[in-house]
Amino acid sequence: MLIFDHSHPGRAAHAQLPPHDGALDDLPAELLRDAPPALPECSELDVVRHYTRLSQKNFSIDTQFYPLGSCTMKYNPRACNSLAMLPQFLARHPHAPAETGQGFLACMYELQEMLKDVTGMAGVSLAPMAGAQGEFAGIAMIRAYHDARGDTARSEILVPNAAHGTNPATAVMCGYTVKEIPTDREGNVDLEALKAAVGPQTAGLMLTNPSTLGVFEKTIQTIQKLVHDAGGLLYYDGANLNAILGYVRPGDMGFDVIHMNLHKTFSTPHGGGGPGAGPVGVAERLLPFMPVPVVINDNGVYRNATEADLPQSIGRMSANGGNAGVLLRAYIYARMLGAEGMHRVAEFATLNANYLMVRLRDAGFELAYPTRRASHEFIVTLKKLKDETGVSAMDFAKRLLDYGFHAPTTYFPLLVPECLLIEPSETESKETLDAFIDACIKIKEESYANADLVKGAPYTQPVRRLDDVKAARELDLAYKAA
């Protein structure tokens, strides 16, 4: 039920009306509405109940374990939120003169410096508004670099077949064609295929390390040499940065450009689709091409560097400088952790994943890459369960909801049949992990004893199975009053 459905003509919550003392009666008549907007008319109590009920229907990191692989659903510390909500930050206008916003700009400058340090890159721009935009900025910089050298025949971006779908999409958006590189049985990039694919047409390689298969790309040194020797650049997709934070730096692995998902690794809220933050880090040779603004320290005064400072910049990603509130939360998170804390993030994320993986394996679950140590996530394949009981990965995932756990990622990566991609993150206790393992064991037993029970799940949620086919075929996103 939408708030509009609670509407009754004449009802209102007058006590909540913001005070307005500005004169509005001088607005030109042609700019005024002919009729009032169709807003819901509700009492304060109606509104409170409506939104409280909605919040109770949420399945969220604040209420449940959320091991959604590849999404890094870690706890969002409350301190980050309360400090970012300080009125001095909230009330600041993005176009206010730099001298009145030195505090905010100092935070952004320090965030850039910390991200440079932890990734081993020469420069960082906070401009991209989300991960996908960071990817776009990264590949646009690769293009700008080749173009600036007159090296314009490079037409191809190499993407491993385990990559996130955004990688090939990004390459195409930047005008490149995509060449897919297969994965070997151990989950690594197939080196022979890579050797055959690189050449003078190669603009770059986009790589996620650890990969979406939850394993560290062991031959990264060879990969980077192959691509660089062919004149291509290396792009690091920061989706799985949490696994190596403070341990290994993409810059040291030889990457030329990286995007970071601050809403994953740096713990800003990302339920409900955003807002995100996807800063890009670059090696020395890409510094001139960074998207603006970049915060610089001009003899002790912070200010936004613009196109005038970086004439070769790929330009702006939005009207202003990224999602300020998200960047602030990430800054505070990074300051709370410090270098030592970041190190522990990677340690505990990896420890939690490996603990879950080994215990599930011992309980009879089949691992997709049994010979590999997990990074911060790992893949279980339920193919045998499906063959023997008819219970699919989707059924299993839905049943987990009844046990109070958010489902892991299902059917991604596409390479592994009936897969669950499980990422516990570092912020969960052993008790939570054990309870999740117990639920998985129980659901497996149920699948053999009473498959229909599992196939009909969930039973305890506000809604049962959604008709996702209908939802995709008959998209209906806009509310229309009846």
Binding site: G165, Y411, F412, L414, P417, D468, V469, A472, R473
Partner: protein, 129 residues
């Protein structure tokens, strides 16, 4: 589900049927639609487009994933089936009846290089392990 003996196949799970007029119809196999699940979207190549063998030329999207369809052989697209674009579920209902597009092969003998039903069945079995 048996694999029709009168069709040819690719390792990327397209089926190919040689029509009386020398063109070939292309669709995706029953096995492919089974892996993908309920179809929600199909995008066919434009009629008149020239294709190289193995070129990405169509997209099928299910509730699980979007997947490319590859040209089984080189040639020109001479027809696209609007019916599967407006009703993608036809691929789930009858994969071998729901052709997606037709190609006039650059070289008709290319069809002979494709997999026969037995070879495709063996390929599917090998991918299961």
């Amino acid at each position: 589900m048996s694999i029709p003996a009168d069709l040819k196949y690719t390792k990327s799970h397209e089926w190919v049927k040689v029509e009386a007029d020398g063109t070939v119809s292309v669709g995706i196999t029953h096995h492919a639609q089974d892996l993908l699940g309920d179809m929600v979207f199909v995008e066919n190549p434009a009629v008149g487009r020239k294709l190289n063998a193995g070129e990405e030329c169509a997209v099928v999207e299910s509730v699980k994933a979007a997947s490319d369809v590859y040209a089984p052989l080189a040639g020109e697209v001479v027809a696209a089936n609007d019916e599967v674009e407006s009703s993608p579920e036809k691929i789930n209902q009858d994969a071998y009846g729901a052709w997606m597009f037709k190609i006039r092969p650059a070289s008709p003998a290319d069809v002979n290089a494709l997999l026969d039903a037995a070879a495709y069945e063996a390929h599917v079995a090998s991918e299961a392990h």
